[in-house]
Every structure is written in structure tokens, then in C-alpha cells.
């Protein structure tokens, strides 16, 4: 890895100008994973001094600065309250505190990591991302966007809603990437189901959700059918840690358990 220059930006605009001026320039979030890609960087731009490390709760929103660390986020009261703690839980299952005091929520999202534990839970909530200079999009749209986003992620905004959440990271060891992730959220309007680390990245199970949300009564048959639709419509794959069939079995089991848990709590 090589970094020729390090620069602490004095304003977000300065950071943006610097980033745009050279394709070899890069913004650093937490930097926790930087060694993995071993990049050659002309100027590393640090957003540390731009007060993007705040969590601001208003009446209807939670505004999270992109430089908020994962540990900061998981221990914040407003996040703990969301969905009965399922966002907090998904954050706390990422490696250890020594890592989570460095890794930032911005870096975790911009990376669009397929194995991410945080993205599935956020995908089930009304979350939109704020970029500088001029973009705003839902988390889902960002995940679907092709290629690099040139703007700088500054805030993650969650609309506060009351509901029950469920999160399951399937892994034998806490320091392992998930074999599969399942996140479910239910408010008085609808269910949202997200499956991640399939091994591909997190995705909403639209057809399954559509079916479930049409049902008047959620009984065992409905739950079973919802899970079946997930298996029929979501793509699962094999890699060296798990086979496609096994991931399907896990998805079925945990979608069913998750729906029951958020419904009957």
C-alpha cells in the first residue's frame, strides 16, 4: 500500500474538489479494510474534522453522520430503540469493539459488501443516503446503482417508525462472515424481508413481501408459503463455506422464525 499525501479536509466542498481532481485520490472512512485492497493513493482525504460523527435524533428522523463509528452507532439510544434492537444487534455482530471503534457506517455502506451484517437490517427500514454535492437516494437505490458513485456520502437518514425487528446472522463463529443473513421488520403497515450474504449482497424479497402483506391472517401456512416464495424468487449460490441448497434451507428456517417472532412478540 502506498499513500503519497494525507490531507484533512477543512470543508466538505474542499474534500469534493480534491476527490474530483485526481482519480488516484481517495476519501477515507474508518479505513479498517484498507489494507485488504492495498491501494496506491495520491492524496488520502480525511473527513475527520467535518463534524460528520454526530447522531442527531429529531421528532421524525435519525440523522447519522457518515463518520459515526459502528460502536458509536450500536450503543446509541435512538438506534437501540429501533425495531426492538435489531439494528443494534446486527452492528454488534461485526468482529470486535477494537474494529468497530474504527469502522464507520459510511464506509460500511459505500463498500456495498456482500457479507455486510448491517445492510440487510437497514434495507428493511426507510433509509435514505445523502451525498455531497447534490444526490439523495434510498439505500436500496444505492445498492442497485451500477459502478462507483462519485459523490461523497455524508449522512444516513432513518425515518423513525415503530415496529418489531428480527435479525439472524448465520455463522459458526462470531468472527466469520455470515453464511447467510436474514433481516425482517414489521410495522403496522407491512413486513419487509431482506436476505444478505447469499453469498451475494443484501436484497429485499419483493415477491414474498407482496404475498405476505396481502394476507389477512398470518398463520403457519402463510408463513410457510412466504418462505417458499423467498426460495423461488431469491438467488442463492454456493461457495467454499456453504452450498446453495444449504443456504436455501437456512433461508427457509430463518424467514419462518423471523416472521413468527415479529408477528407474535
Amino acid at each position: 500500500m502506498e499513500i503519497k499525501n494525507y490531507h484533512k479536509a477543512r470543508s466538505i466542498d474542499e474534500a469534493y474538489q480534491l476527490l474530483s481532481s485526481n482519480p488516484k485520490n481517495s476519501v477515507i472512512g474508518g479505513g479498517a479494510w484498507m489494507k485488504k485492497s492495498s491501494p496506491t493513493i495520491e492524496t488520502l482525504i480525511d473527513l475527520k474534522d467535518l463534524k460528520l460523527d454526530q447522531i442527531i435524533e429529531t421528532e421524525s428522523l435519525i440523522e447519522i453522520g457518515a463518520m459515526v463509528t459502528l460502536h458509536q452507532l450500536e450503543t446509541d439510544q435512538s438506534i437501540i430503540k429501533l425495531g426492538d434492537g435489531f439494528v443494534s444487534q446486527s452492528l454488534s455482530e461485526v468482529l470486535g469493539v477494537g474494529f468497530r471503534n474504527i469502522a464507520t457506517i459510511g464506509g460500511s455502506i459505500v463498500g456495498r459488501y456482500a457479507f455486510s451484517d448491517i445492510i440487510p437490517t437497514l434495507l428493511t427500514l426507510p433509509v435514505h443516503l445523502v451525498f455531497y454535492p447534490a444526490k439523495e437516494m434510498t439505500l436500496e437505490a444505492f445498492l442497485n446503482a451500477k459502478g462507483k458513485v462519485d459523490d461523497i456520502l455524508t449522512h444516513i437518514v432513518i425515518k423513525k417508525i415503530k415496529g418489531q425487528g428480527f435479525f439472524k446472522k448465520v455463522a459458526q463463529s462470531p468472527l466469520e462472515f455470515a453464511i447467510l443473513n436474514v433481516a425482517i421488520f414489521k410495522d403496522d403497515q407491512a413486513y419487509k424481508i431482506a436476505i444478505g450474504s447469499r453469498p451475494s449482497g443484501a436484497i429485499l424479497a419483493e415477491e414474498a413481501m407482496a404475498y405476505l402483506n396481502k394476507q389477512k391472517v398470518v398463520n403457519d401456512e402463510v408463513v410457510e408459503q412466504t418462505a417458499n416464495i423467498v426460495l423461488e424468487t431469491i438467488k442463492f449460490g454456493s461457495n467454499r463455506v456453504a452450498s446453495e441448497d444449504y443456504r436455501k434451507a437456512l433461508a427457509k428456517a430463518y424467514v419462518k422464525r423471523g416472521i413468527k417472532e415479529v408477528t407474535f412478540k
Partner: protein, 150 residues
């Protein structure tokens, strides 16, 4: 480039390259308590406290910590001595390579969580890997230490 930060209570200034990590800066200046176990954010033996919070020093660029406070076991000797008494009593100190990083994590845990449950403790120290002890003796030592030092 020059970076100035507070190391174990003293103002220090170091000449570093932009891609230099805190682990390398500390070890090359004879802070030998901070260990290199993997250098890729996965094992926890390089843990130091940054503004009192446990961080993996192999994953923090020194250039970024201007003005901040770094604490290693050299900076909190009395507290670490107390922790070591409990580890010694439980036979939890074997090869010792993970112990300094773990001691700092325990010190931070004590400050961050009041009355931690066993699960709280495990969740907090899970990133400090140990291959020798089997973890049980460490946990016993930590529980007794926290109980006696409420």
C-alpha cells in the same frame, strides 16, 4: 510528515509516512507491549486505547490521530498490575502474547459498561483472540476483577 499526539500522558511528536499505521509507529519507538499478531484487523493483540476507546492499532493510520490520546499498558501500570493479579490467580496467563491488548480492553470495558453481565463481557472481548487458554480462565479472572473493582 510530523504528527503530534499524547502517548501515555506525555506530548510526543513523531515523523511518519502517510501510510504508516499506529502499530508500526509505536513498536519502532520501543513500545514493545503492543504486539503484531496479524496486521490485518482480525486478532486484537495490537489493541491500544485511543481517547480511552479500544482500537486495533494495526488499522489506524498514525497521520489521522493528531492531538488525540493514545494509551498502552505502559501508561496504566497500576491498573494492569491489578488485572495481572487476577490472571495469575486463575492461571489465565499462558504465552502472554494476547494479554497486553486484552488488559487494555478490560480497562475500557470497566469504564464503558457498569455491572456487565457475562454476555456483555464476552461481547466486549470477543475480538481479542487467544489460542492458549481456552477462554474460561480469562473469563473467571475478568469477572472477579470487575466484581472487586466496582
Amino acid at each position: 510528515m510530523k504528527v503530534a499526539f499524547i502517548l501515555n500522558g506525555r506530548n510526543r511528536e513523531f515523523e511518519v509516512s502517510p501510510e504508516e499505521y499506529l502499530l508500526e509507529t509505536l513498536r519502532s519507538h520501543h513500545i514493545t507491549s503492543v504486539k503484531n499478531g496479524c496486521n490485518e484487523s482480525t486478532c486484537g493483540v495490537c489493541t491500544v486505547l485511543l481517547d480511552g476507546k479500544p482500537v486495533l492499532s494495526c488499522s489506524v493510520l498514525t497521520a489521522r490521530i493528531e492531538g488525540q490520546e493514545v494509551t498502552t499498558v505502559e501508561g496504566i501500570q497500576k491498573e494492569v498490575e491489578h488485572i495481572s493479579d487476577y490472571f495469575g490467580d486463575e492461571g489465565a496467563d499462558q504465552c502472554g502474547f494476547c494479554n497486553s491488548g486484552l488488559a487494555l480492553t478490560i480497562h475500557a470495558l470497566k469504564k464503558e459498561i457498569k455491572d456487565p453481565s457475562e454476555e456483555d463481557i464476552k461481547n466486549y472481548i470477543v475480538g481479542n483472540l487467544c489460542r492458549c487458554s481456552g477462554y474460561q480462565s480469562q473469563l473467571k479472572a475478568i469477572k472477579r476483577y470487575l466484581e472487586d473493582h466496582k
